[in-house]
Symmetry: C2
Subunit: 237 residues, 2 copies
């Protein structure tokens, strides 16, 4: 039912021919069963979506012809998602959800209660690409390297506001300022933030604390809920 969509890393333009990697050829011809002459949609994350046609199809490669541009780039709001990596599958879900919900960058941060020592940035980036392909997006959020939260806060860009979700906070979500500039959303790991982290966040002039309700949410649920709150109040919903 759904049209095949493929993200291509190189800048696209009408009339181009594009060579496919082995993985792309496997996906288009092995999995999706496209054949020469078949159409698909492609996007480069920077200039929009294009109609494309299969010119050559092989086991290890192939060539696409890029025809007309069919949609402009739909850039999400200037929003970052900061999250503490959790179990592998749920970390994958957080990145996928971030791409669907509309963020520019996804930044894994190590907190005092984070129990994942490292993340596979390339695998997470591939999940962001796949989510954009499947949700009809023309933009792919950039996944950053895992960095300690403290270091990220040390280098915080002063014009960017931070919505931080504190599960220890009782009561309704605080009012967010109607600031249409750059923002970030931070959700904690399963065990929440440490006292030192909470103190630092509550004292930071750029940070705004919100509650995600009276029940404890898993980190992946919290990410979607927090992005929903932000998108409906300050974003493009």
């Amino acid at each position: 039912m759904a049209k095949v969509r493929l993200y291509l890393e190189e800048p696209l333009g009408e009339g181009q021919s594009v060579s496919l990697t082995r993985e792309q050829a496997h996906y288009l011809f092995g999995v999706m069963r496209l054949a020469p002459g078949d159409g698909l949609a492609v996007f480069d994350g920077a200039s929009g979506e294009y109609a494309a046609t299969v010119k050559e199809a092989g086991k290890r490669g192939g060539v696409l012809h890029i025809a007309e541009r069919t949609a402009p780039l739909a850039l999400p709001p200037d929003l970052w998602l900061l999250f503490a990596p959790i179990k592998k599958e749920r970390t994958d879900f957080i990145v996928e959800k971030a791409a669907e919900m509309g963020v520019r960058r996804v930044l894994p941060v190590a907190t005092d209660f984070t129990n994942a020592g490292r993340v596979n940035r390339a695998r997470l980036q591939a999940h962001a690409v796949e989510a954009a392909e499947q949700c009809g997006g023309t933009f792919v959020p950039e996944v950053g390297e895992l960095r300690p939260l403290g270091r990220v806060l040390d280098d915080w860009p002063r014009e960017r506001r931070l919505m931080f979700c504190d599960e220890a906070l009782a009561g309704g979500p605080a009012d967010l300022p109607e600031n249409r500039g750059p923002w970030a959303v931070l959700v904690g790991p399963e065990g929440g933030f440490s006292e030192a982290e909470r103190a630092r966040l509550h004292a930071a002039p750029f940070a705004h604390c919100v509650s995600l309700g009276p029940r404890i949410l898993r980190a992946d649920t919290a990410a979607v809920a927090a992005l929903t709150l932000w998108q409906t109040r300050l974003g493009d919903w």
Copy 2:
């Protein structure tokens, strides 16, 4: 770090002794490594949370002593979640998320574009129990049998309002009426609703349509986003 929590189906009271099933014994003594004398929290979904102690621990069973009640029942708002079952893993996620986000009932509905012919109600109910155990809840939403959406709408209780998420709708989320009575939230399958379903829903006097933003969301993402919208506007957040 987290305290062990166990849902018990029978009505609990202070001073009782409770026999464990083989599965419960395996979880407490095999997986969580509890031993006689160890403490845990138990809840029955109806009367709150209790402190309990292991009296007997065996491979195939065991006995708990129920001590004092430590928390009252925290009942979520009178909200149902209606969703169209999708791939197995994502259907499990939707039920888990519903339990975390706070709903009373979870009702799988077969829509014109649903491609799951049946659901395993018992497995989904077990996911709801597990989510309540892990998110600190004292209530477990009831998972219903899969029914056709048309039949569910035929029998719709007239005092219950329905927030329905129409991905074909452009623009911001519609204003929901400030109605504090019973509600339900309906999210569609991956392919959205059919024209006939959309026409019927838009015409229903109890239904209110909202948009979930300009990007296409997977069904599990849409469930969390829709419940967040409802909880922040009309629920207990």
